[in-house]
């Protein structure tokens, strides 16, 4: 059947079982929008293209499916870039479609022209400029294949407006074969055998679990490996939820703002089994001092992640789920009694703590949100102190419930991501934990949330500061708060009125005693809610490992 490019795009998205697209119209995508008008695909109209990219990302993280976003050429496309880069750094499957000026105008500095394939080359897994409508169906098939397989990531398709109108015979390929792209899924049997032996021989093993375990849907296998062999588990920010934070073998998050016991355990371990984690600088601290006695097993689907930052003794390239199944079958339970006893001592001696007084402290709010939601909510975070307090004080029990920009650290991510997560999980309770800085980076999406009747609960931990940067200025820049105070108290935007202006519900909480009731009321409200928590202004995230220090040199962790 003959179809034009826009029709082919819609037809291909249907074949890829795309339920919804997040996006924003514009001149160079008019033919696509004309076909979307009566297409059986839900279109979520955001208020800024950055919101579309983050929402597609949040949808992908919460559901495991490929997120799709669509924007026009030029500024529409460049507005997607931060969201694409965010997804790239965290290996999130996404297909971004952009309009482009007509092919004969490309390179002429035409109106709303931007070289978006050039701009996104370093932040996409792959990208395409479609020059001929005959290539379109295959390109879309390849894009979804590349985005969702191997180490997932965003793929961009730039579609000139004349190609959208060109006609060709439509045929959707059933499979793709790309000679330069063949991800390895099955781990090398010899390496798995060596890893199993290393586990069996270890005395102080630890599992270090990252976002790759979530991407590979391997939490069941992580549980089995940990519990059957009595091995403690620590997680990266993106790994949270891959192993239940409530389990006694969980040490919570490690790294710069990790728990003292996780950091001490990894530094003291004799075997680290890294599962879909990449030894990021926020996790290793000073690299030469990292885990000096440990043998390292590294399971990762991306060979380039192995031995990139630390030297690995037993690399296993492949799918974490498959490899862990094999490892579970082969590993003999090591004797970790003494090790677990030592960790229990650390847990007892150095718990995460905060001042329990009458002040309204963010940690208390998060504990209350945790209790009110029984750890079952999908929690999106912004970036900064709010993000770290979530990681420390909300015990995630299931994968795909913690949505946060880990790699790129994008302020303004959480709220649009919550929109995507809520649309992907209509029955779920979805929170965005924000700061007063980051919420203002994509606040316009309140209109999207309200228009789509999304009962997202936004908790602003409002301290009038860019809290994390202020904290660094306090600790490392001699209290010189250079441009980190957004508004003096009294001159701040009124978030309650702002919520109401958009048709959402606003609440202000200034007293510790009001916290739980406010959270319960927000949960019971069938609308988007902003809770403006006026927290203790100079509360810090502790412990903290100063940048470039060894992981056991924590400030405020009780460990010297």
């Amino acid at each position: 059947m003959k179809m034009n490019g826009a029709q082919i795009l819609i037809e291909c998205l249907k074949r890829e079982k795309v339920e919804m697209i997040f996006g924003y119209p514009g001149g160079a995508v008019l033919p696509i929008f004309d076909k979307l008008y009566d297409a059986p695909i839900k279109f979520i109209l955001v208020r800024h293209e950055q919101g579309a990219a983050h929402a597609a990302d949040g949808y992908a993280r919460a559901t495991g499916k490929v997120g799709v976003c669509l924007a026009t050429s030029g500024p529409g496309a460049t507005n997607l870039v931060t969201g694409i880069a965010t997804a790239y750094m965290d290996s999130i499957p996404m297909v971004a479609i952009t309009g482009q000026v007509k092919t004969h105008l490309i390179g002429n500095d035409a109106f709303q022209e931007a070289d978006i394939t050039g701009i996104t080359r370093p932040v996409t897994k792959h990208n395409y400029l479609v020059e001929d409508v005959k290539d379109l169906a295959l390109i879309i098939k390849e894009a979804f294949h590349i985005a969702s397989t191997g180490r997932p990531g965003p793929v961009l398709i730039d579609l000139p407006s004349d190609v959208q109108l060109q006609e060709t015979e439509f045929e959707y390929p059933d499979k793709v074969s790309i000679r330069g792209y063949n991800p390895t899924y099955t781990g090398h049997p010899g390496q798995i055998k060596r890893a199993a032996k290393a586990i069996s021989d270890s005395k102080k093993p630890i599992l270090y679990v990252g976002g790759g375990a979530v991407a590979s849907d391997a939490s069941e296998e992580v549980r089995a490996l940990a519990i059957n062999n009595e091995i403690p588990v620590t997680m990266t920010l993106l790994g949270l939820g891959a192993f239940p934070g409530t389990h006694e073998l969980s040490l919570g998050m490690l790294g710069m703002h990790g728990t003292p016991y996780a950091n001490h355990a990894i530094m003291d371990s004799d075997l680290i089994v890294a599962i879909g984690a990449r030894f990021d600088d926020r996790v290793t601290g000073k690299i030469d001092a990292f885990a000096p006695h440990a043998k390292i097993v590294h399971i990762d689907i991306d060979p380039a992640s192995v031995s990139k930052n630390v030297d690995v003794d037993i690399p296993i390239v492949g799918d974490a789920k498959k490899i862990l199944k094999e490892l579970c079958a082969q590993a003999k339970k090591p004797d970790t009694k003494a090790w677990l006893a030592k960790i229990a001592e650390w847990k007892k001696a150095y718990p995460l703590k905060y001042k329990d007084d009458n002040a309204l402290r963010p940690q208390y709010i998060l504990e209350q949100i945790y209790e009110a939601t029984k750890g079952e909510a999908i929690i999106c975070t912004e970036v900064g102190q709010n993000q770290m307090w979530v990681a420390q004080f909300y015990n995630f029990t299931r994968p795909r419930t913690m949505l946060s920009s880990g790699g790129l650290g994008t302020m303004g991510y959480g709220f649009p991501a919550a929109i995507g997560a809520q649309l992907g999980n209509p029955g779920a309770l979805v929170f965005d934990i924000a700061g007063d800085g980051s919420i203002q980076m994509n606040i316009q999406e309140l209109a999207t949330a309200v228009a789509n009747k999304l009962p997202i609960k936004i908790a602003i931990l409002n301290n009038y500061y860019l809290g994390m940067v202020r904290q660094w200025q306090e600790l490392f820049y001699n209290h010189r708060y250079s441009y980190t105070c957004l508004n003096a108290p009294g001159a701040e935007p009124d978030f309650v009125k702002l919520a109401e202006a958009y048709g959402a519900v606003g609440m202000r909480i200034t007293d510790k005693k009001e916290v739980r009731a406010a959270i319960d009321k927000a949960i019971a409200t069938d609308n988007t809610v902003i809770m403006d928590f006026r927290i203790e202004r100079e509360e810090n995230v502790f412990p903290i490992v100063p940048a470039g220090e060894a992981m056991n040199k924590m400030i405020g962790g009780g460990l010297a």
Partner: protein
């Protein structure tokens, strides 16, 4: 340390930008880069001379391999390859030095491709030793301009790369 890396890529629009972008984004140092079609017009070969320690080289290979349009990456080991570079050198000559210059050029098997009153254009093809020797011999006359293609290399062990990324002979 210098390495010669041979990369087979899909002969598509933008591939060179992907490779050079990757190298610059990750801080890999390119000494030279030469690109051309292979026996299969859908496949190009890039020969890249890079500098770096073993760890950097490992990352270069792995990161290049991650690019979808890259079919195969090979790091040539010493003694396993034949390499050549083409160089054009323009030197200044005076009537007094002309004869001496011509002798120097011929002594290394280079050729004069264009001759003017005050200058000579010299062409040479060879390995790095030959090219270095030529440049040293010509230096005293005054080098006005140098244009080099960058090195290209070919496997001589029989395990080399055909354009489909498969070895010539099965091991």
């Amino acid at each position: 340390m210098r390495h010669i890396i041979s990369i087979l890529v899909e002969n598509k629009f933008g591939v060179l930008a992907r490779i050079s972008g990757l190298f610059s984004a990750r801080g890999f140092n390119i000494s030279s880069l030469a690109v051309g079609e292979t026996e299969d017009p859908k496949v190009s070969r890039m020969t890249i001379v890079v500098q770096g320690d073993d760890k950097t080289l490992e990352q270069i290979k792995k990161q290049s391999n991650k690019l979808i349009d890259v079919i195969k990456v090979v790091d040539y080991k010493e003694g396993d390859f034949l390499d050549r570079e083409l160089i054009l050198v323009k030197i200044s000559v005076a009537p007094k030095t002309r004869k001496e210059a011509i002798e120097a050029i011929e002594s290394v098997g280079a050729r004069i491709e264009s001759a003017g009153d005050k200058s000579l254009c010299v062409e040479a093809t060879g390995d790095q030793t030959k090219i270095k020797t030529l440049l040293e011999l010509l230096k005293p006359f005054g080098i006005l301009e140098v244009v080099r293609t960058g090195r290209i290399a070919m496997d001589i062990t029989g395990r080399g790369l055909k354009s489909d990324g498969k070895p010539e002979v099965n091991e």
